[in-house]
């Protein structure tokens, strides 16, 4: 297991939750969501299985079907994967064009340079390209309203915020 944190806040945001979770696997920091973009993920948690040759064998993650290792469907496929066999269900992901996350990555670079306003402008442009992308939407929210995310995530606020933004689907 290798964790890949999709978070522009980097180490300072990721380390506390990793330590609190007791995770004992390596965790990589992907500030610009490069990995999510290559797989077309719009949300976390999401997951990918690689075989011993580094070939992708399973992709799972969408707003309606997130990657949860406690899910018996995923556990079964994980057991097959670790036994060197092919998972039964593959590619359970919403496939999108990665353009939105490429624009998002530009914003992540601006954010890392301390240009938060320009980063937010770029992220809003990215969200307009893919309004269902909660990697982007949540990062905007977390940057503008960090008190709604740390120390605890306020899902009631998120649901209300979706309505304020005119988004007509439920919170994933």
């Amino acid at each position: 297991m290798v964790g890949v944190a999709q978070d522009v806040g980097g180490d300072s945001r990721v380390r506390p939750i990793v330590e609190a979770s007791g995770a004992r696997f390596p965790v990589l920091i992907d500030r610009a969501s490069h990995v999510a973009a290559r797989f077309g993920f719009q949300i976390t948690p999401s997951g990918v299985f690689l075989d011993r040759d580094g070939v992708v064998r399973y992709i799972h993650g969408s707003a309606s079907d997130q990657f949860d290792v406690a899910d018996p469907r995923i556990r079964k496929n994980l057991d097959l994967h670790l036994a060197g066999r092919r998972p039964h269900r593959v590619d359970r992901s919403r496939r999108i064009r990665s353009e939105a996350l490429e624009v998002f990555a530009e914003g992540a670079g601006l954010f890392a340079a301390g240009e938060t306003d320009r980063a937010l402008e770029r992220w809003r442009r990215a969200l307009a390209l893919d309004p269902d992308n909660f990697l982007i939407r949540s990062q905007i929210w977390a940057t503008e309203s960090p008190d709604r995310f740390w120390p605890a995530v306020d899902r009631d606020w998120q649901q209300a915020q979706l309505l304020r933004e005119g988004y007509d689907k439920p919170l994933p």
Binding site: M1, A5, H34, R52, G54, V55, V56, S98, A142
Partner: protein
């Protein structure tokens, strides 16, 4: 714009730091079956 990675494709190139500051690439994921778990703090 790059195409999306699909089942049967190799893991795409990447260079990302871990929490200890060590850079990882796709080459570090070869040799054992791996699960990549993408998550966020928010």
């Amino acid at each position: 714009m790059r195409s999306l990675v699909r089942v049967g494709h190799p893991m795409p190139d990447f260079v990302l730091p871990d929490l200890g500051g060590l850079d990882w690439t796709q080459a570090d994921l070869i040799g054992l079956p791996t699960v990549l778990f993408l998550f966020s703090s928010w």
